[in-house]
Structure formats: C-alpha cells, structure tokens
C-alpha cells in the first residue's frame, strides 16, 4: 500500500505535469495570438524594410512630392528655450509633429526648425524681428509614408542634439519596442514547440544550426576572419 508521502509525491508530480502541460498549451496559444495581433505591424516593417533596401522605381516618392511655401504672421513666443519657443510657434501655425533641429541658432531673433511626421515635413523659419514665419511644406505619397514609418523614432544614434519630443513618436517607438519584444517571444516559443516534437528534432536542429552558423558568421565571425 502506498504511503501518504508517496501519494503526496504523486500528486505533486501530477500537479507539476499539469502545470507544465498548461504552460505548454499557453505557449502554443500565445505564439499564434501574438502573431495575429502583430500581423499588420510585421507586414509593415517587413515590406518597408524591402523598400529601404531597394531603390525600386515603382516605389519612388521624393520626385513626386508636393511642395508649397507660404508666409504667416506670428506673435512673439514667450522667452524660453528653443523647444518651448518652437512648440509655441507650432501651436500658432497649427503644425504638429516631431521637432528636428536642422541648424544651430546663431541669432536670437531667428528660429529655424523642421517638423516632421510620416508623409509630411514642414520647414519653419521664424523671423521674430518682423514677426513672420516662412513655412516650406512637403507632402509625400504612400510609398514615402511607408518608408518613413520604418525609421520614425525621433532620435538617431549619431545625432545627440535631437530628442524625441512628440507624444505620438513616443507611442510609435513603444510600438516598435513591442513588435521587437513580440518577435523575440515568437522565436523563443517556437523553439520550445519544436523541441517538444521528437520526430522533428533532427531536421529542426539542422535548420536551426544552419541559420545560427550563417548569422553568427556575420555577427561575430567576420571581424575575426578579416
């Protein structure tokens, strides 16, 4: 007759197996739930990646841009930093987007900056002495929007002056982070699901190893080889 300890151990083992089964089932479910939720984001970043890497004629966007220039009267923004003054001007001009500093401010009565959002770029040249601003507006087609969405982060590695300053850029940057994290999860969950399939282990290992060796060669190997 089994002892109470044996029974408890069996129960614990069964509970453990049940827990593992549940985890396995959730791993599988989350793999396709997350894949479905991120589907449109994945398609955008995959397709726009191709557009960025190939100068395809059909996806041309710069030559077909619409450009217009106009002058607008402005009232002097309150004293403050460049960012605060630029934001005040944008409010007056009805322009929204990510501010980009394109040149250093050498005269206090002038403030030049660029406001961009996917598909639209507005160059603002404010002349405080004459209380006028010149707006050079560029509108891009859908190919341009698609390309810019891929890289629209508000910051650049090689440019310390510009910082993310528009809340929608922050939302988009968070979406990019979420897609990247989602991809890492999709890879990890797929590895677990594959490992559970005993009959697929050998060929799966061949495929995974081939990918890891080729990819590792580029990430680590080239700088040792050359």
């Amino acid at each position: 007759m089994p002892s109470a300890t044996d029974s408890a151990a069996r129960n614990a083992s069964a509970t453990g197996r049940g827990g593992l089964e549940s985890l396995r089932a959730w791993n599988r479910k989350l793999h396709y739930y997350l894949g479905l939720y991120l589907l449109f984001f994945l398609w955008l970043f995959a397709f726009s990646g191709l557009l960025l890497n190939h100068s395809w004629k059909f996806a041309e966007f710069w030559d077909s841009r619409h450009q217009s220039t106009n002058q607008v009267a402005i009232s002097l923004p309150p004293p403050g930093g460049d960012l605060a003054q630029a934001r005040d001007l944008m409010r007056q001009l009805g322009v929204a987007g990510e501010i980009e500093w394109t040149r250093s401010r050498d005269k206090p009565e002038r403030l030049d900056f660029r406001v961009s959002r996917p598909g639209h770029i507005v160059e603002v040249r404010a002349d405080f002495a004459n209380q006028r601003a010149t707006l050079n507006r560029i509108d891009l087609n859908y190919w341009g929007i698609t390309r810019i969405l891929h890289t629209f982060t508000g910051v650049r590695l090689e440019d310390r002056r510009n910082e993310r300053d528009w809340w929608l850029t922050t939302i988009w940057a968070l979406a990019m982070d979420a897609v990247a994290l989602g991809l890492v999860f999709l890879v990890a969950s797929s590895l677990w699901m594959w490992f559970e399939l005993r009959q697929k282990r050998r060929w799966g290992l061949v495929a995974l190893s081939a990918g890891a060796v080729v990819c590792g060669l580029f990430c680590f190997g080239l700088r040792w080889l050359y």
Partner: protein
Amino acid sequence: MGMNGRLYRVTRDLHLYLGLFISPFVLVFAVSVFFLVHAWLPGAGGAASGRRTVTALLLPANLEELSGRPLVDALKPVMTYAQVAGEIGFVQRNPREHRLIVPVSVPGRVTTVTIDTQTREASVERRTTGLADALVVLHKAPGPHLVSIRMNWWCMRVWQWLADATVYVVLFLSVSGVYLWFALRAERLIGLLLLGAGAATFFGTVYALCH
C-alpha cells in the same frame, strides 16, 4: 490523405523548418531595434586597437579627382595592399593636405585609413565597436543611403541577400501562420478578435501619426 491534409502538413513543416532557420536573423533585427529606437549603443565608441603605417602605396594617378563608385573601386586594391578588408564607406577629402579619410567597416569593427596622396603613405587605425554596433550595422545594411557606393564588399552583398531572404521568409511565416491558425476551429473566434484588435491598433496609430 486528402489534398487539404497534405497542404496543411507541408505548410506546417515549412513553417517549422524555415522558421527555425530564419530565427537567428529575426533575433538580430529584433534586438537591434532597441538600440535604434532608443539611440543607445552599449560599448559605443569602442576601443582603438592600435595604429600602423603603410608605406609605398600604389595609388592611381587620378585618385583625387575620382568620386562615388569609381573612387571606391580605385581604393579597393589600395585597401587590399594595406590589408584592410571590409565595406568602404563615405570617403572624406582634405584637398589642402592631399588626404583621403576612408572608413572601412566589418560588423563590430571600423578601420579608418587616412591616405596621404603625396607621400603615398597611409595610417591605419582599427576600432572595435562591439556586438551591439555589429547588430545595428547589419540591421541598417544596405539601407537607403549611399546607393551608388554601398555593398562594395562581397560579404555585405551576401548579407543584403540574407536580409531580403529574412523578409520574404517572415512574410511566408506570417501568411502560413494565419493558415495554420485558421485550421484550428476552436481558436478562430479569439484569433479573429486579436487580429481585429491588432488591425485597429495598427491603423489607428498610423492614422494618428499621418493626419
């Protein structure tokens, strides 16, 4: 086994094996996103690992007049002689001092070759930039810039092909994944809800960004 059953099994196997092969590449693109989105590069700057001088360079007579791809092509044998391998980047000129500054990169390392066209000497400085930089370089290659000179090293041309392959395989995995999910009747409703929620999030965010 019916046609549908066979299609399902073939799609499932292709989804599995292609997914396993491409997963390290997907990780490269996914992890580098964090560095690019937050303009943060651990180990940025890198450590210079020594400087050396190469003498008696065989330079083409018209080197200082060349630009773009012809300049890169003319510099290739010079780099081979100087034992510097990698992708040649944008070449800076200093006509007054008769100097060309040539950045040559291998993922994880940048070598700066400064050529003095009068003395036919070059100083070669290597800087290791690390894994994070290597991932960023690979993520951005080939990219939209310097179209006329990019992919001038055969390894980066192979990478261009692999980057394209990653996209095509990811597109296949997403379409085949939708097919495999749709075959699971019990998961259709919740899957459709998530697909709809994802579409609403995506189009809503893109609309707000663009309008």
